[in-house]
Assembly symmetry: C2
Homo-oligomer: 247 residues x 2
DNA sequence: TATGGTAAGCGTAATTTTGACGTTAACTTT
DNA sequence: AAAGTTAACGTCAAAATTACGCTTACCATA
């Protein structure tokens, strides 16, 4: 993170709103940031994973680099959603100071391009994240964040919802094999609604891209559910270009 | 446009994909750019309206400023859709030279945030645009453009289509008063499909936000159509948060 | 003045989709 | 063995979609 080691472009950064699903809740991965407050005392708050881009680096590359450094993961779902460029978006003393501390440069203004990412939280990548002072915070328990990151998370959630309405990307936050019910609770968490399990099943299976496996749940105190897997090939072949207007 | 006159931020620019509707075709407003080619001869091609942001300027502000300078219009539909930041996105000699000529600076790399805008082409704003060497080009007749602007237009069209599926913004490209059929041809042009007039009417009028006026068409060789107007208040009150998944 | 062409605007009828809910099956826990 | 839970199947009415038929009101031309 020390800019003196790398030739950064101090005008442009990327920030990642990384979503995950744990204990049936939608979570965001946030990093603890330590800084010196106005009384000269050490304090901490939370920020989004992000970084300045380097001199000749693509935005997408900077985002996936950030993700990799934080989680150890490659090739995960990552989509640009908005660029925040208000000249006063970062104007608090503690934020300016933190930039100076981490880059060694006096930075006045940064335009940041935000990405959202979907991750299947696993033990290994969670441990990896914890080592980097990151932790999964419930989306509706997010405290005041550093910079304008609260606004970015909010907008990111809206974009996630919109994306999920138009393409089946929910499975990106689940293990390879998952039950229909698990997918349903994921949708419920993201849209903050209750859905009817029978109708959800009907609707999601009508599209053919979820294939049932032979394997069932085990050890559950009820009729065990079959596991399913997303099949990208089927999805590509069967997706219809619906021209249905929603207004 | 000469940077020596204004304190620009030479790292970040905005570009506007300005859509309009003329003779039942979807058009994009492009500017003729003159440059000196590799043989030292004057040549010209087309580019998107855009500009570097100034030192303390918001991205949205830069975009609407660009729009105002080009069309004379204020308060028109304008929405950010994507930021292009590939380090090699501008690497042709003629493009680099053109930057040098217009800014007086040697510029290596620019990240640009793209907006799309919807305009009701009128005589007055078209004249205004022509004075600035701009002209309305049919979306499926677009030649090779300067910089990576071809790619930007393409992505802009996809975002326009997506936006139009989720909110009734088509009227932004029509006069205050318009017929249902005109709106239909607009949808047909944007999505490049044929629609059934009876079903389109049914669907669009089911939402209550288009209100019929007393005025009819005149001078047409068929039953004259009533004019309609978009009513924002009704739209805000009646829009429903549809949670319908499209996949 | 009559006739033909055209799009407006009304309607109908079959099909598909949605939403609410009933029911049995298959597992664990007590 | 009984109770509790969710899976997975099915039913039914209402709503939305889709494909059309038809009459109306205008202009153009004969």
């Amino acid at each position: 993170m020390n800019a003196s080691l790398r030739p950064i472009n101090p005008y442009i950064s990327v920030d990642c709103v990384i979503f995950g699903f744990k204990t049936n809740k939608l979570k965001v991965l946030l990093i603890e940031r330590e800084y010196t407050d106005e009384n000269g005392e050490r304090a901490s708050d939370l920020k989004l994973p992000g970084d300045f881009i380097t001199r000749m680096e693509d935005l997408d590359h900077a985002a996936s680099r950030t993700l990799k450094e934080l989680t150890g993961l490659r090739d995960i779902f990552l989509k640009q959603f908005y660029t925040f460029g208000h000249p006063e978006r970062v104007n608090r003393k503690i934020d300016m100071n933190w930039w100076f501390d981490t880059t060694g440069m006096t930075i006045h203004r940064v335009v940041t391009t935000a990405y959202f990412s979907l991750i299947n939280i696993s033990e290994s990548n969670e441990e990896f994240a914890i080592k980097n002072n990151a932790s999964w915070i419930d989306v509706d328990q997010i405290p005041i964040l550093a910079f304008d990151h609260g606004e970015i998370v909010e907008k990111g959630l809206l974009h996630l919802q919109n994306a999920l309405k138009n393409e089946p990307i929910g499975f990106e936050m689940l293990p390879e094999k998952f039950t229909i019910r698990k997918l349903q609770t994921l949708y419920e968490a993201i849209f903050n609604v209750k859905l009817d399990n029978r109708n959800f099943r009907k609707k999601i299976l009508k599209a053919k891209h979820l294939v049932q496996l032979d394997e069932k749940q085990a050890g559950v105190a009820h009729k065990p559910a079959y596991y399913y897997r997303f099949n990208k090939t089927i999805y590509e072949q069967t997706k219809k270009e619906s021209l249905g207007f929603n207004f």
